[in-house]
């Protein structure tokens, strides 16, 4: 059985209206009936007392002259009043002188009442009225009436009330069935709209607004809410689609990058092994050219003319240059193929060892070399040594004429926030090694070519070398996860900056 709480609003409204109208009507009926019954009772008492007074005044003479027969005849007239059950007349001395009983039954008459008045005894009304004649009380009339009239009236009223209640309930039902739509209609439409929205996820639906009351406001707010949801939903869908597209293209690009990466790595490996193999294999015929060239010179130097000796001389020089080129190529490829594991390296000590190797050239050029404090980092010690060797010998080599080289080596720590400091030892972050000279310098537009193998900015006639040194430095820096760059201008000296991580990840042995 459904409780009132779970009934639909339509039924609730109908029930409330019905209950209210029924209660009001019931109360009104009850009040009306009660008032009427009380009024009727009062009238009944009045009627009965009038009857008693008439009877009394008619029987006064009979009482005075002690004539029971005449008094009895007067009482017999009460037959006309069907509700009078019995009646009797007392004389002055309280003796019953006449009696009347409806239908002729037997009644035990009470003693003469001393005071006039009435009282309701069970379902009877008993009334006593004095008989007064000529200002003297000569006797008493006592009457008892049944209350059939009241009972009949009450049952008639109950019947009428029930009829009225039923009829008005019907009217109320019909009226409320129509009137409750004013409230339940918009709510039901709202509920339908809401369920359509939630079932189909269709936020373009709008509830119809039919009034300007609170329900209308509710519908309006609901629609505004729907609109907001729709707008947000559309925006969300759009960005989701964009996100999906972005993701797809990102995946594609990642795959592409990975593929290119793999290809690059493979071609790189192939290139390196090719370089290595080629260098080795090229050395053998070169050695034979050099060796047989030497023998030819030793044996037939006197037999050959000047021109032939010159040819021989140039052939030998070319073979020597080729030997150097092959050695450099090998050295370049060894940066990756013959790599050593990373260990803790004191860069200051490496710099000092390199300087001691270069002592002869420093003396010859009259150079001034200043080495500042350098950090200890995790690195390949041989390659570090190779890098300092290249950088310092470059600084000595590209000196301006008539200007002895002034070289400064300095180290700095690049902190996480981008600031530089000289606080060693550095546990994390990057270190920057700067090698500065006062040499010929170069134009920065050639910076790209500077670190590529066998690229030279100056003619070999002026400065010896194959142009592999800075390329090796670049490769070493890259292998350590760092990089190398330079700042310069022609005739202004150069400043080479090598950035290296203080710690290598997972490769410390």
């Amino acid at each position: 059985m459904p409780t009132f709480r779970n009934l639909s609003i339509r039924r609730k409204l109908t029930l409330i209206i019905m209950a209210t109208s029924s209660a009001a009507l019931l109360l009104a009926c009850a009040a009306f009936v009660l008032h009427d019954l009380l009024d009727f009772r009062r009238r009944l008492v009045g009627d009965l007392s009038t009857l008693a007074e008439i009877t009394g005044s008619h029987s006064a003479a009979a009482i005075l002259f002690n004539d029971p027969k005449a008094a009895g005849e007067t009482l017999a007239a009460l037959r006309a009043e069907p509700h009078v059950v019995w009646a009797c007349i007392y004389n002055q001395r309280g003796e019953v002188i006449a009696r009347y009983v409806r239908g002729g039954g037997k009644v035990i008459f009470p003693p003469a009442p001393t005071a006039p008045g009435h009282r309701f005894v069970q379902d009877r009304l008993r009334l006593a009225t004095p008989v007064v004649f000529d200002g003297e009380r000569v006797g008493t009339v006592l009457l008892e009436s049944d209350l059939e009239e009241i009972r009949a009236r009450l049952s008639r009223y109950v019947g009428i009330s029930a009829l009225v209640l039923a009829a008005s309930s019907l009217v109320a039902l019909l009226l409320s069935a129509n009137l409750q739509r004013v409230i339940s209609g918009p709510i039901q439409r709202l509920v339908q709209t809401a369920s359509v929205v939630s079932e189909r996820q269709d936020f373009s639906v709008r509830a119809a607004k039919s009034s300007d009351d609170e329900l209308g406001m509710l519908v309006g707010s609901f629609n505004v809410m729907l609109e907001q949801i729709q707008t947000r939903n559309m925006a969300l869908t759009g960005s989701l689609e964009r996100l999906q597209k972005t993701q797809e293209s990102l995946v594609e690009r990642t795959l592409e990058v990975e593929r290119i990466n793999r290809e690059l790595a493979r071609s790189n490996r192939e290139l390196e092994s090719f370089a290595s193999v080629a260098s080795h294999d090229l050395q053998e015929p070169l050695r034979k050219i050099t060796a047989f060239g030497d023998r030819l010179r030793t044996r037939c130097a006197g037999a050959l003319d000047e021109t032939s000796n010159d040819y021989l001389e140039r052939m030998q020089n070319a073979a020597g240059r080729m030997q150097t080129l092959i050695n450099d190529l090998l050295a370049y490829s060894r940066v990756t193929t013959k790599a050593q594991p990373f260990v803790s390296v004191d860069l200051g000590q490496v710099a000092r060892e390199v300087l001691s190797d270069l002592e002869l050239r420093i003396e010859k050029t009259g150079a001034q070399v200043e080495v500042g404090e350098l950090p200890t980092i995790e690195a390949d010690p041989l390659q570090m040594r190779q890098m300092f060797q290249n950088l310092l010998s470059n600084a000595l080599k590209f000196q301006r004429p008539e200007a002895p080289p002034v070289i400064k080596v300095q180290g700095q720590i690049l902190n996480g926030d981008g600031t530089l400091s000289r606080r060693f030892p550095a546990a994390f972050g990057l270190c920057v090694i700067a090698v500065e000279d006062n040499g010929i310098g170069f134009d920065e537009k050639y910076l790209d070519r500077l670190f590529m193998p066998f690229q030279r900015l100056n003619p070999q006639s002026a400065y010896e070398g194959t142009g592999i040194g800075l390329a090796i430095c670049n490769k070493i820096a890259e292998r350590h996860g760092g990089r190398i760059t330079a700042a310069s201008a022609p005739g202004e000296g150069s400043r080479f900056l090598v950035t290296l991580p203080v710690r290598q990840r997972g490769e410390l042995s």
């Binding site: 008619h58 003479a61 005075l64 002259f65 002690n66 004539d67 005449a70 003796e95 000529d134 003297e136």
Partner: protein
């Protein structure tokens, strides 16, 4: 003290019993209390009679009862009327009234003892507005208005309407209803 209380109680009981007996006997038709009943009737008659305008000297003048002849009824009447009023007037009773005093009366009762003088007494009254009441068949025949009779041990009365009209008295229909009406021919004719 206890003895006295008991005596008082028994005396009270006796009194109650005596009263009970008296009430019992009062309910029965009483010939022995006949004078008292007749006196009461006599008194009550006055309430149902309307006298002509000149019968009383003024509005506050008493209703005068005169009793002629020796009778217990006169004594009972004198006792009964003490302090009572009829139609707003005081009541006086004159027993053994002389004939010349009868003209002052509104109600005249003639005892049976005066049987021989009925005509004489009624002649004194003549057509004056006096309600004449007797206790003898001859009194009625002599021209009296009301006459007591005994029926089955009950006191009843006869009324001669013609005589009343002659005297200028109007007798209430309610009294007439209770009376034995005398027809003009003479004898009693039962109740209407």
């Amino acid at each position: 003290m206890a003895v006295l209380g008991r005596r008082l109680a028994s005396a009270g009981l006796f009194l109650l019993l005596a009263l009970g007996v008296r009430m019992e006997t009062a309910a029965e038709p009483l010939v022995s209390g006949e004078p008292a009943v007749k006196a009461a009737f006599l008194y009550n008659f006055a309430k149902f009679v309307e006298w002509p305008a000149g019968a009383f000297a003024g509005p506050r003048e008493p209703v005068a009862f005169c009793v002629v002849g020796e009778s217990a009824i006169g004594d009972e009447l004198a006792q009964a009327v003490g302090g009572k009023t009829i139609q707003g007037r005081p009541v006086t009773v004159e027993r053994a009234a002389p004939l010349d005093a009868l003209l002052r009366c509104q109600i005249l009762f003639v005892a049976s003892a005066e049987r021989t003088r009925f005509d004489q007494i009624l002649a004194v009254v003549g057509r004056r507005p006096v309600l004449t009441v007797g206790d003898d068949e001859n009194f009625r025949q002599a021209g009296g208005i009301i006459n007591f009779v005994l029926r089955r041990n009950r006191v009843r009365f006869q009324i001669d309407r013609a005589a009343a009209e002659r005297a200028g008295l109007r007798i209430s229909s309610r009294l007439l209803e209770l009376a034995e009406v005398v027809d003009p021919a003479g004898g009693p004719a039962g109740r209407r």
